[in-house]
């Protein structure tokens, strides 16, 4: 029923347009606008598919509202400030803890540690000295050769 009404209404509308604008004029105009290059629609299909295959997936840019921007900026500010305030106090606490533990070690233990490792340092020292002397002995004749 509704389809019939629609069809009747369409015919009436077309009749009005034909009467006022001329049926032949309208159809000639339509024909002129129907002209397309040869094989256009087949090429269109291929071109569109080609374009689709070659288009990279689009990058989504998220835009945020003003209040969201403010909230985002505030949270970043809070992170920076809290990091600045908390980090030095942590470091101080750690260094105090180290100092306390050093004080708790008895002096005898420290002295024994130094004594035990003293000969190692001496050996290293002597080795280094010997190395330097040997280098100097090797270099001296070379210098003489150059001067000659």
């Amino acid at each position: 029923m509704q389809n019939k009404d629609n069809h009747k209404e369409l015919q009436e509308d077309q009749a009005i347009a034909n009467a006022l604008l001329g049926k032949e004029n309208l159809h000639s105009w339509k024909e002129v606008n129907m002209q397309v290059p040869h094989n256009y629609f087949n090429a269109f299909e291929a071109n569109t598919l080609h374009k689709i295959q070659n288009v990279k997936p689009s990058v989504r840019i998220f835009t945020i509202g003003t209040w969201k921007k403010l909230a985002f900026a505030a949270s970043i500010f809070a992170i920076v400030v809290s990091t600045y305030l908390l980090l030095p106090s942590n470091t101080i606490q750690k260094s105090n803890a180290t100092a306390m533990s050093m004080q708790q070690i008895p002096n005898e233990e420290i002295a024994a540690y130094i004594n035990e490792n003293d000969w190692v340092a001496e050996v290293d020292w002597h080795t280094e000295l010997n190395k330097e002397e040997a280098t100097m002995i090797i270099m001296e004749p070379g210098i003489q050769n150059d001067s000659n």
């Binding site: 606008n33 397309v36 299909e45």
Partner: protein, 180 residues
């Protein structure tokens, strides 16, 4: 032959999206192209817009909820793309210049096309003077023979608004023709 709905479901579910999309494109591309061509006149412009329309269909079809017919949805995309194009061209001052009627005259007098009379050229000018919405509604109603509910959905207006647009378009064209 599969219905539009079945093809859309196939597109959403299967890995062979191109197969389903090609079927939909083949089925609707001519109507979409001709509607755009009647709006912009130039084949190259119509071709560009039509390609943009189908690219959008490809990108958005996964989100299409099938609350309207597929053809209505495609025509709606075509309407938006065409109106955007015309408005951009207007801003650049390239659209609706005197060249347009000359272009039409050339096309009308080409060897392959039918001969054009003065009244047809005047009709073309009258059509081009209509606001975009009225023109789009007139084309959909007179040439595509769509019902007003569908036209209203495509152009984002009420059924009454679509009817008013159609009749205003005819009246306006008649007046322009009378003055010519």
């Amino acid at each position: 032959m599969l219905s539009d709905q079945a093809l859309i479901i196939q597109f959403k579910q299967s890995s062979d999206k191109e197969g389903a999309f090609t079927q939909l494109l083949k089925r609707h591309q001519q109507k979409v192209y001709y509607q755009i061509k009647r709006m912009v006149n130039e084949h190259a412009d119509a071709d560009d817009i039509a390609q943009q329309v189908w690219m959008k269909v490809w990108n958005k079809l996964d989100g299409f909820k099938m609350e309207s017919e597929f053809s209505t949805w495609v025509f709606r995309i075509a309407y938006n793309e065409t109106v955007n194009f015309i408005q951009k061209e207007k801003k650049l001052g390239q659209h609706y210049t005197s060249n347009e009627s000359a272009d039409y005259e050339n096309a009308a007098h080409s060897q392959d096309g039918p001969a054009s009379s003065q009244i047809e050229i005047a009709l073309e000018q009258a059509i081009q003077q209509l606001p975009e919405k009225q023109r789009f509604v007139f084309m959909l109603r007179y040439f595509e023979e769509l019902n007003y509910a569908k036209i209203a959905s495509i152009t984002g207006t009420s059924v009454g608004g679509a009817k008013a647009n159609f009749h205003q378009a005819i009246k306006k064209m008649e007046e322009i023709l009378k003055h010519n």
